[in-house]
Amino acid sequence: MRVALFLTCVNDTLYPDTGRAVVKLLTRLGVEVDFPMAQTCCGQAHYNTGYRHEAEPLARQFSDVFRDYEAIVVPSGSCAAMVRELYPRLGERARAEGRGDALAEQLAPVVPKTYELTEFLVDVLGVTDVGAYYPHTVTYHPTCHGLRSLRLGDRPRQLLSAVRGLELVELPGAEECCGFGGTFAVKNSDVSAAMGADKVRNAASTGADVLCAADNSCLMHIGGTMARLGTSARPARAVHIAEILASTEEEALA
């Protein structure tokens, strides 16, 4: 199986550990991973802030870079949702504006074979026990795009439950948005910060060492809030699920 990693621009630039973890994890599971160097950004920030014409060239570029792979794995719920849910809308919109079917046809091949990481593990590889070891108490935040756009359901929990040494504790108000929301975090920073603080308070109430999620953008907001609230705050860390799943007894991560 020829699988491409679409790491996302945020992970590439700020969270390379997540990328290394995905490579390590998939390689351990026998998947041959390629990282096409011409990849950059899916265009989600442009789309969601109202600059959809700026998102179009990035969507075309994504399609050109990834169209020949059998599967595209994305360790980000929101970027995977951009491809799966919003690329078709870019195509529909071009059609409605009288620009024909060209964009829709160009984007169509990549849409169904783009998978968020946990989806790829459970649905495509058919594994829930990835042989990981992570001796910590963990609470899981299901991010909005994973929850409501991709409908990841309990896939991430199945994966976490099979990790040796890991104690999974439920997060109160888990399904409520953490308040990141891309440019929302800056445009409505007060509301965003209040939502983030509530998320961190709920996470602290679980007594977990680690809060994990499948999207580093949300974790950047939650983790940044945790850091500001002080070192004694719990959970002490915000960690991407890929880093937990990649962790083993021989080589502990995070």
Binding site: M37, Y51, A55, A96, R148, N188, M195
Partner: protein
């Protein structure tokens, strides 16, 4: 907050004010979380909820597609049943019509059924200016009116008030408007309800004119429908001699049979009840029962313009259940007043900038009053894709484009204040279209990472005021990939060639 919404500040600053009010935040959090949980329970009882939701969406869409035809059918049926139909293009015209009708009766007091349409057009204020007193009879509207306040929720207009605050308002204000509150009034729900009942009863028994809105209009019979929980609406609809109903044109459904769907979805979505306690339906007039005179004012006020928008028109499906408000994390913290409209929350964020246009500061800021978490779309009983419309309206704000205003096609210019952002978005798109440029930027950032400040200037300050920035890694992923693949293969890394092929 009293008076009109004109000159409202943009959403972020209005929200900031609400966030600093701990009592308000506590009231809202408690109320929205309670009703949210109850609604989820009421909805889960129905196995065919998804089918009902889809049916509701289809019925409303079908009605909107042929709205011109159904409105004429409605007019014909109302007229045949002894009612009089008036057409109002905007708020001013509607207020003129209603004021004229009340004046013609010679009365100076009217009782009102809770109605969003009359709030939208500022009817109470318009009547007051002509010396006519309008008394709200819905309990929550009464609290808002007595408190010289503004509603902050579609279904629970006084959601921002707790019991203690309501007791204080009743004790202080009721005597100004009619029967005073009983001596030693406590803040128990039963005592508060009894005080309101006694106060309102006098109004019902004296009223000669009633004013209402409607949740639905049925075109085939000319029937209007009101859903309510207290029975106060039914008193207003049946006791006065003259009844005037002001209804938005989008409230129309073609047939009686269509009501089957909404009789199930509206109560469960709004109050989490299997069926709402009072469903009143009225068709024209009868000599021996109910009002002798019935007027229906059909209100446009931006609805036809909204209908012209292919994406935005789905907002007109709204049946005002307010489920989207109760699940919205932004509404929960910012409160209803921050939205600067009688329609707060997610639905308000897409409805107001369409009905009123995006020219004002508040209307241009409303499409951004959301983290796009999608909870509103998930609970909407008529499947309005609110996040989709929000993004659509954001584009209208930042890029301008063609819209229909007052029936005429106009091209909007981009709103002011977005020039720097637009330039940044274009620059980012350019960099992302050239992987080599992205790589150069990453290298530059990694090289300078020890110099990266903890707090940022400009718009970035909004981030670092409450959150730490992540530390920049010494090496972006693509450098690691290139380096390690090179070691594995025992040969030089592939050149940059191929990266900039786009």
């Amino acid at each position: 907050m009293t008076g009109t919404f004109v000159g409202m500040p943009a959403f972020p600053s209005a929200a900031r004010k609400a966030l600093s009010n701990e009592t308000l935040r506590g009231n809202l959090r408690y109320a929205t979380h309670t009703i949210r949980a109850k609604r989820a329970g009421a909805v889960s009882e129905l196995d065919d909820w998804a089918a009902l939701r889809e049916a509701g969406r289809e019925i409303k869409d079908q009605a909107l597609r042929h709205l011109d035809r159904y409105l004429l059918q409605m007019e014909e049926a109302v007229t045949a049943a002894g009612g009089v139909v008036h057409w109002a293009a905007d708020a001013d015209e509607a207020n003129r019509i209603v004021t004229g009708l009340v004046k013609a009766t010679g009365e100076s007091d009217v009782v009102k059924v809770k109605s969003m349409a009359t709030q939208e057009i500022g009817l109470n204020e318009a009547l007051e200016a002509e010396g006519i007193h309008a008394y709200e009879t819905d309990l929550a509207e009464l609290i808002v009116q007595l408190g010289k306040d503004r509603p902050s929720h579609i279904l629970v207009p006084a959601i921002h008030r707790n019991r203690g605050e309501i007791r204080d308002i009743f004790t202080r204000e009721m005597s100004e408007w009619g029967r005073p509150a009983p001596e030693g009034l406590s803040d128990t729900p039963a005592q508060l309800a009894e005080a309101a009942r006694l106060h309102l009863r006098e109004k019902f028994l004296r009223a000669k004119v009633g004013i209402s809105g409607a949740n639905f209009m049925v075109a085939e019979t000319g029937t209007l429908v009101v859903f309510e929980s207290e029975g106060n609406g039914r008193m207003c609809l049946t006791l006065p001699e003259t009844l005037i109903s002001v209804v938005g044109i989008e409230k129309l459904v073609p047939t009686w049979r269509d009501m089957e769907v909404f009789l199930q979805t509206l109560p469960r979505s709004s109050t989490a009840e299997r069926m709402n306690p009072y469903t009143s339906m009225w068709t024209g007039t009868r000599d021996d029962d109910g009002p002798r005179t019935f007027h229906l004012v059909l209100l446009d006020n931006g609805r036809t313009d909204t209908l012209a928008d292919r994406v935005g028109r789905q907002a007109l499906r709204c049946i005002r259940c307010s489920a989207c408000l109760n699940v919205c994390p932004v509404y929960e913290r910012a409160g209803g007043h921050a939205y600067g409209s009688v329609y707060p929350g997610p639905i308000g964020a897409i409805l107001s900038p369409q009905l009123r246009g995006t020219a004002s500061e508040i209307d241009a800021s409303l499409p951004y009053a959301s983290s796009l978490c999608g909870a509103c779309y998930e609970v909407c009983p008529v499947a309005i894709d609110i996040p989709e419309v929000l993004v659509h309206l954001r584009e209208r704000v930042v890029e301008g484009g063609p819209v229909v205003r007052q029936g005429a096609k106009v091209t909007l210019r981009p709103a002011r204040g977005h020039a720097a952002e637009r330039a940044a978005m274009r620059a980012a798109r350019w960099a992302f279209s050239h992987p080599g440029a992205l790589r150069a930027g990453q290298r530059l950032a990694s090289g300078a990472r020890r110099l990266t400040p903890r707090t940022l200037p400009g718009p970035g300050r909004a981030w670092t005021a409450t959150r730490d920035l992540p530390a920049l890694p010494p090496e972006p992923f693509r450098e690691w990939w290139r380096r390690t693949r090179q070691q594995e293969a025992g040969r030089p890394a592939p050149a940059d060639r191929g990266e900039d092929q786009q």
